[in-house]
Point group: C2
């Protein structure tokens, strides 16, 4: 539903069958949370009749305009929805999103509905699970004219209550066409194995757009991906996860103020934990289509506070254990870290215009250095390293961008 | 020349007369600095013949395409140039930028060339200094077809070597039209009084686009404007001025490290001085058409360093005179100041989208608080005030933007 909404869908009719009460309660609650109209219709005869009959149960709500039809166990991309809604629909017919990549690893060849498409016109020539001569897969996403329901009624009256049966009738009249969405993500989640593949694929998509540094990519991301997989099934919003990550940093900084090694160590562990959790907010946001300008900005501002407070705590820790020289270095480290983040956006922009490479000393690296410094009980060295590298990089950027 | 280039002009022919050697040396050097082709032509007879004859001296260089003609003592806006270059030119004729605002305070009514424009067609009906029946002023900026030079030759052969004479000949044939640029800045700098008016007007234009806080507007800006007026006549670039302002802050911070009131005081004075000088880089950049993305960014990054170093110095000053409590407060002040700047762009953007007001706790105010704190020898109080207000405002922004 979230994906469909991002693709432009503004209301839902859900036909229930197995565990109807549970499903309709769930989707109505989700509709309220997403602020979208959800109508549920029960198919009392779901055990004895095919999916065409289920669709016909929703007929009273689908008289007006073309509607999108999808199976509840199919996942897809918002962009596929957007393309279907923007495509032209055969009068009284259907448009089926088809995948022509026959080696798509997410397709279960045993179960998928196969399609033979006329490669010139895009018309459906044949459709069915057992089809031997086929050149595409049915992705389970259709755009339907209301008139399609009349064909469906006819097919059911003639004794075939499958959707494929009605589609075949349309195909015979040249009213069933296809939209080539090869390469787009889609999956039919029929069993546990497919469910796991779907989880991995969705997490991969959510992760794919992150601008990761090396520490993120090889250390934090694998851990945060596992965490995201669990967090996805809770109601936690990305902003709540950002705040939780900030809370971990805050607690870590507080522990570092304790003038003993174990305070420093616990603080360092929490700092690295915060860095890992910090990878989840963006993943969850993309996974649940909850991205927002505000969310990204809040995350960035909290990250700056978290960086500054951890470095401050590190300096005060040194001071308390008798190394006051750490104070001025701590100020330089805080300044360097914050100025580096301050310059990041504009530096990236300027370097993009110049077509240069964008070497990044990111937050992932910074927090790992803090954690390692805590582990090896080298708080002063850590501050010196951060103050030197961050300010050095900021100055380098000022020089490089000039060129 | 800088204004014309910003308006789209790609080369210059300068006709010299009085002090020809000095003028041509100057404009050729300027051409090299601005990386634009400059040709100089001498009018040996400048004392006895009018401006039409001067233009004719440049004829060998003006055969190919329409050219822009302006008097060396006229100032104008880049946008007027842009509009003239984009306008359609009467075949073989001229297009004169005219000002229909008869109450323009920058116009010297005694000396200005007056124009009677046909308000329907925009054609010039009459032109001359003594014209009694007129409705516009000649701004001294023309777009001319090469054929205009033939008319000029004819006028000179007939004994009239003024430009206005040649324009009158074109007007009689309907080939002299006008472009209404009323409201645009232009001025004819004929004497000391006009020179001072021109200075003020240009500085006002350069200042006008600044996003000033109250301290800037009422205290810093009047002082920086005076300074800019002087700096404009030096070869200093905006980036050099940014670096100089940063140097003042750096020196101020160093002085604050001295554990005596006078160190604090001198440091505070330099901080406020840096704040005033910091207003000049943008003014000079706009005045000399030297704005650049890099320049604005460098200025912003140096400002962040300057803020952080002054607050650090203030905290270390307190520490040295026996107030170690200033250290953690100093860390919070540095963090607050930098995070506030970090949030500024995105906050402004989000608030603009929401159409809300943009209350700003800017750098001008911050540096004044530091200077006043130094003057009244209240470094700890200053840090507390800055740490509280900056972090409070940053948190307020995080809450407000959410709404």
């Amino acid at each position: 539903m979230r994906t469909a909404m991002e693709g432009g869908v503004t209301g839902f009719v859900v036909v229930t069958g197995y565990q109807a009460e549970r499903v309709s309660t769930f989707v109505r609650a989700l509709g309220e949370r997403l602020q979208v109209e959800v109508t549920t219709v029960n198919n009392p005869d779901w055990e004895h009749r095919e999916n065409g009959y289920s669709l016909l149960c929703a007929r009273p709500y689908l008289q007006q305009a073309p509607f999108l039809l999808t199976m509840a166990d199919h996942l897809f991309e918002a962009d596929t929805v957007r393309r279907l809604l923007g495509a032209s629909l055969p009068e009284g017919g259907i448009l089926l999103a088809c995948d022509h990549h026959r080696c798509n690893p997410l397709v279960d060849l045993e179960d998928v509905t196969r399609v033979r498409v006329d490669t010139h016109s895009g018309a459906i020539q044949a459709i069915g699970k057992g089809l031997a001569d086929y050149n595409a897969f049915d992705t389970g996403l259709f755009l339907c004219a209301p008139g399609f329901l009349d064909r469906l009624q006819e097919a059911i009256d003639a004794g075939d209550s499958t959707l494929s049966g009605a589609v075949r009738r349309l195909a015979d009249q040249g009213q069933a066409r296809t939209l080539d969405v090869s390469g787009a993500f889609w999956i039919d989640v029929d069993d546990d194995a497919a469910f796991r593949r779907a989880e991995e694929a969705l997490l991969g998509l959510a992760r794919g757009k992150e601008r990761d540094g090396p520490v993120s990519r090889y250390l934090n991301r694998p851990l945060s991906a596992r965490l995201s997989k669990r967090l996805a099934y809770t109601g936690l919003t990305p902003n709540q996860i950002s705040l939780f990550s900030f809370g971990l940093s805050l607690l870590g900084a507080a522990l570092m103020l304790i003038p003993h090694y174990w305070g420093l160590l616990l603080g360092g562990i929490l700092a690295q934990g915060a860095s890992i959790v910090d990878g989840c907010d963006g993943e969850i946001a993309r996974l649940k289509h909850q991205q927002s300008d505000y969310g990204g900005w809040l995350d960035a501002v909290l990250d700056r506070y978290s960086d500054a407070l951890l470095l401050t705590a590190l300096a005060l820790h040194c001071w308390q254990i008798g190394t006051p020289a750490a104070i001025p270095i701590g100020f330089l480290a805080v300044t360097g870290a914050l100025v580096l983040s301050y310059t990041a956006d504009k530096y990236d922009g300027l370097m993009r215009d110049k077509g240069g490479s964008r070497f990044r000393l990111g937050r992932d690296l910074r927090l790992l250095v803090i954690a390692l410094g805590a582990l090896f009980n080298l708080p002063l060295t850590t501050l010196v390293v951060i103050a030197t590298t961050m300010n050095g990089e900021a100055i380098r950027r000022m020089v490089v961008c000039r060129g």
